[in-house]
Each structure stands twice: as C-alpha cells, then as structure tokens.
C-alpha cells in the first residue's frame, strides 16, 4: 500500500528502505560538490575558469537530466536537451543578471527546449512521422521492488500525461513527479505563480477525470 506524503509508509512496505535511521530528504547529488555558491562559480566561469563551468555542470546536471527525461519520456531527446541547455547556459552566462539564480535560469532554458521538442513531436505526429520511442517513461523508471499494481498505475499516469497539453504536462511533472514548489515551477516555466497553479490544477483535473483537456485556453510561448 502506498500512501501520500513522505513519511506515511506501512512498516511492512518492503519497497521502502528499512534500515535508515535519518530521513532527511535530499535528492541524488553529483559527486562534485564545491563549496562555492552558484553566484561565485558563475562569476569565475565568466572569467574563463573552466573548472567553475564544470562545477556548475556537475552541480545541476542530475536535476536537469532527471526533469528532462521525466518530461520527455525519451532518453535520447532528453540528453540532447540537457546538452543544449548547458551549452546555451554556459555560453550565455553574460546574460544572467542574478548569478545566484543560475539553477532556475538553467531549468527554464531546459524547459523551453522541452517545449520545443513537444511542439516538434506534435508536428511530426500530425504528419505520421514521429518515430521516437518512449523508452524513459515513469513506469520504466519505477523502483524494481515495486509491485505490479504500482506499475499499472504509473503506466496510466504516462498515458494521461501524453494526452495533456505540454504546458500542463510540464507543470504537473515538475510539481508532482520532481516535487518542486509551485514558485519554482513558475520560475522553470517562465510564468507567474498564478499561472503555474492554474496549469498544475488543470493537469490534476485532467488526470483525476482520466480525460485529456483541450489545449484551447493555453497560452503559447
């Protein structure tokens, strides 16, 4: 039985870690964790310090890759987006006004590229030419110890997400798969907090009703 929330687990849930004392939550991190802040690394990178560039990459690559993969559900496309995002960010550091905001600036670039991918996918699908394979769906990333009923549920989520308008899909995945706060979802999507709430709510409604919503009211970027 899976419950909502981080701590509410059955003591007999064998998919959960059973020998962990502390449950302070942190996502997987890169091995390279320099002590300098993002702002300091950005300033050094602007000055041509290659180490700082690489440190920024290692600090954020996992979060960006995870998000891109879970948004696009295609490994190749996600990796392509990640590379494009870092190339764009590292080449455009001069345009970043608030150096400490590198993380969400980078995520915003990645989300914009994901949008572009979705548009292209829709276009190719309309022409019957989308030959990509969804090889990184949520169901395919499930913990090996999870039961079949969970796999079925996640496959259903994958199917429902595929039918959502891309902006709703992105907002919902960042919020409910990656667990970002709404203000961070807004920062990544490049929209207001109110819009982010609305996008997430629309996706939640579509998923709760198990129907796809029409993208008519969606603002295009």
């Amino acid at each position: 039985m899976y419950f909502v929330g981080r701590m509410s687990r059955s003591p007999f849930d064998i998919s959960a870690p059973t020998s962990v004392v502390s449950r302070g939550d942190t996502g997987p991190r890169s091995r390279i964790e320099p002590t300098e802040s993002d702002g300091e690394l950005v300033r050094r990178a602007r000055g041509g310090d290659r180490w700082a560039e690489e440190a920024l990459y290692h600090r954020h690559v996992r979060a960006v890759t995870r998000a891109a993969m879970r948004l696009l559900a295609r490994r190749d496309e996600a990796e392509d987006v990640v590379q494009e995002a870092f190339v764009s960010a590292l080449n455009g550091l001069g345009q970043l006004r608030d150096e400490e905001a590198f993380e969400w600036w980078l995520m915003r670039i990645a989300v914009r590229l994901v949008h572009r991918r979705f548009r292209r996918r829709r276009f190719l699908r309309a022409l019957g030419l989308d030959r990509g394979e969804d090889d990184a769906t949520l169901a395919s990333q499930i913990d090996p110890g999870a039961g079949p009923e969970v796999r079925v549920a996640l496959s259903e989520v994958d199917r429902l997400l595929d039918a959502l308008p891309s902006r709703c899909r992105i907002a919902w995945v960042l919020r409910h798969v990656e667990g970002h706060e709404l203000r961070d979802v807004a920062a990544a999507c490049g929209c207001s907090l109110a819009t982010a709430k609305r996008l997430v709510a629309r996706a939640e409604f579509a998923i709760s009703e198990h129907v796809a919503v029409e993208p008519s009211g969606e603002r295009r970027e």
């Binding site: 419950f3 909502v4 929330g5 007999f12 064998i14 870690p17 059973t18 020998s19 502390s22 302070g24 942190t26 996502g27 997987p28 991190r29 091995r31 390279i32 964790e33 320099p34 310090d49 180490w51 690489e54 290692h58 690559v61 996992r62 890759t65 995870r66 879970r70 490994r75 990796e79 392509d80 590379q83 494009e84 870092f86 190339v87 590292l90 548009r119 292209r120 276009f123 190719l124 022409l127 030419l129 030959r131 990333q141 499930i142 913990d143 090996p144 110890g145 999870a146 039961g147 969970v150 079925v152 549920a153 996640l154 429902l160 798969v177 990656e178 667990g179 998923i207 709760s208 198990h210």
Partner: protein, 404 residues
C-alpha cells in the same frame, strides 16, 4: 510538499501513488551518463551545431512539405542526433604517429631504455622503463590513452585540435596543450605539470576535479582500506584492485548518503566491488539489509542478492530474515530466476512473514513456480491460498498464473 493525493478517487490505482512520484522512481542518471553528457556539451561548444532538427518546426507550410517530401523519398532518416549529441563534422581523422602509422600500445621493460614516441601533430611522449601505455581512442577532437603502469611524460603541442585524456586508474588527466608527467603506482597517481594547465579528475581529488598549473604537482591516492567494524570470524573477500577501490570505503561517505536516502550516490561511492567488500565485512543483519537497500533502491537489484543471501545464511533467526527472504524472492523473480525466487519465497513463508505480506508472498510463489515449470506445486500453493484467504485480493493474479 502538500499532502494531497494525486487523484481523489480512492478506488483508482493512480490515487494510491505517493507525492512526489520521484520517491518511488529510480534515478535515471548515472555517473557514466554525466561524463558522457559533459563530453557532448564540450563538443557542442567547440563545434557549433547545425542540426536538421532545428529546421523542423512551425516555420512555413512550404518547409513542412519539403521535409515531408524528403522523408518520403528517404533522404532523411532521423531528426534526432545520436546519443551523446555528437554533431556530424568533417573528420580529419585520428592522431597518427609521425610516420603515418596508427598509435599502438607501448610497453618498456624495466631494464630497457626510455622510449620516445613522436606523433603526427608534433606532440611527443616519453615512456619510461617499466611503463605501459595503451591508446584507447583517437579522433579529430580527442586522443585518449591509458597509463597501465609506470611513468610517462607528455609534451602536447599547444593549441592543437585534440583534447588529450590520460586515464590512470584512480585519476584521469585532461589537457589541450602542455607538458606534464604522469606516474602511476599501485596505490597512487602523481601528476607533475611543467607547462600549461591540466585538469585532474578522480574520486579522491577534492571536489572531484582539480586544476593544476605549471610548476604544480598533485598526488592522487587510492582510498585506504579501513574497516568500520571488525567482522569477527567473517570471511573477508579479497581486497579490490586499487584503481577500483571506492573512496567511501575509508570513511562513512556511502553511509551518509544512505541516511540522506540518496541511494544512487551511495551506490556510486561503493561500486560493485565496494558493495561486495562491505557485505563481507558486515557484522549485523541491519548492515546487510542496508547494503541490499543501497543496491536495490539505486536500480541495481542484482547487487542486493549477495547481502540478502548472506543475511539469510549468517543471521537466519534475525528479525530481518523473513523480510530479507521476501525481498530476495521478489528480486530473483525480477531477474528471471524463478527457481531461486521460489526457494527464497518458500523460505520467507517458513520464517513467518508479517500478516500483511503473506498474501503477496504466496501469489509470487505461485508465479515463480509456474515460471519454473513446477506446476504441481504452483497448484498446491494456489489451493492453500484459496483456503486461507477465501476473499483474497491476489486471487485473480493467482488464477491467471495457474491458468497459463
């Protein structure tokens, strides 16, 4: 994170999923992908991408028609770049020796003299006695060699087109144009820079990467083997080769990651051999279960088999034993080893699994027996299940397996 269900309809399977979903997903990014993606980023920054994908979009109907026509005629096969994001460019070819022949492994006997290798781009390599150097990859942009042992001095032509990477086990050295010496010893690697700047990477290098300028040197040491507890009669496995020893074995790095529920990182720190070594060292059922969690929850279920088997053989009366047997059974089933799964699940039932798990264990036992071809026993377990759980929630699954 708000404590809301993903779907308010309780009968819906989607409603029972945790929020956020990432808590039940494997981390899809491993260290190799991180390294590969970085190489792609560097490549793209060096060679501006001109990809067909950029041309496809919402531009004009004419462009779309043209693309459709091209696709229909088979001129275009894909719009997605190959993994790693390498852009197709004119390849001038691999780096060759000065005489135009391919670079081959160089091994210099201890009693022999230093060997000088001259390359086509005017770079030079001096291989000292007792050393072995092997080329790993050579292209227009990259030249990768492995220093198996000994001391080699590289004099790389400045401003050349290729990035040089010297893999020396626990450390790798990256450079574009400089002069430096790398010495690989059994438990350490020394890098001395005579000219230019190099980047040294290694799991024991502070922050993972260090910038080394002319006149500076760096010793990268393999982590020392320092058990956290005495195994007391436990059979210890052979010490891993120094180049594969994870840094965490000397300290508690991987345990810290476990406490933070960062299993992917914990596994990265341990590695396969580190996990085996810690399994041999573990002095309690809890430790073994933790190691199994690290492997299992980082997406390496096969790595959990060894600690779980050892837990069952060394601590059969532990409180963990039944749960370990259930977990082992589920993993073996997932690894397409139904015979082993059947043994483990049967043992779990014999050890006495918690009431909430019993139905699930019996259902999986039926599945394992059917897959293993032991239909008679599968039927017997199914009958037993129906008797004990007349309204069992796994009855449908069991019927499905028995009917196969």
């Amino acid at each position: 994170m708000s404590d809301t269900r993903l779907n308010p309809r309780s009968e819906d399977p989607v409603a029972s999923l945790p929020d956020p979903l990432s808590t039940m997903l494997r981390d899809p990014v491993d260290e190799r992908a991180v390294a590969r993606l970085w190489r792609g980023v560097e490549e793209r920054r060096r060679v501006p991408a001109v990809r067909l994908g950029a041309m496809v979009g919402w531009a004009t109907l004419g462009a779309a028609i043209a693309i459709v026509s091209m696709l229909a005629l088979g001129f275009v096969t894909t719009t997605t770049p190959a993994r790693g994001g390498r852009v197709a460019v004119q390849e001038p070819g691999p780096l060759l020796l000065a005489d135009g022949t391919p670079v081959v492994p160089v091994e210099v006997a201890t009693a022999a003299k230093r060997v000088l290798v001259s390359l086509a781009d005017r770079s030079r390599i001096a291989v000292e006695p007792g050393s072995r150097l092997e080329p790993l990859a050579s292209s227009a942009h990259e030249f990768v060699v492995r220093l198996a042992r000994g001391t080699v001095t590289f004099d790389v032509e400045p401003k050349g087109p290729r990035r040089w990477i010297i893999e020396a086990g626990i450390a790798s050295v990256e450079v574009v144009g400089t002069r430096f010496t790398v010495t690989r010893m059994p438990s350490s690697v020394r890098v001395v820079v005579a000219r230019g700047v190099v980047l040294v990477r290694g799991s024991t290098v502070p922050d993972g990467v260090a910038r080394l300028e002319a006149g500076r040197s760096l010793d990268v040491r393999a982590p020392a083997e320092k058990p956290e507890h005495d195994g007391g009669g436990v059979v210890r496995s052979a010490a891993p080769h120094p180049e594969r020893v994870p840094s965490s074995l000397a300290g508690k790095g991987w345990r810290d990651r476990v406490r933070a529920q960062d299993y992917a990182h914990a596994y990265d720190l341990l590695g396969t051999e580190g996990l085996e070594l810690e399994t041999a060292r573990a002095a309690s059922a809890d430790d073994l279960f933790t190691l199994a969690d690290v492997a299992r929850l980082s997406g390496h279920p096969d790595g959990a088999v060894l600690p779980l088997e050892r837990l069952l053989s060394t601590y059969p009366s532990s409180e963990r034993a039944a749960l370990a047997a259930v977990t082992l059974g589920r993993i073996e089933l997932g690894l397409s080893a139904p015979e082993k799964a059947s043994v483990a699940l049967e043992r779990a039932l014999a050890l006495g699994v918690p009431a909430g798990l019993e139905e699930d264990v019996m259902a999986r036992l039926v599945e394992a027996d059917v897959k293993a071809g032991n239909r008679a026993r599968a039927s017997a377990v199914a009958t037993d299940y129906a008797r004990r759980f007349p309204a069992g929630r796994r009855q449908t699954d069991i019927d499905r397996w028995v009917a196969r």
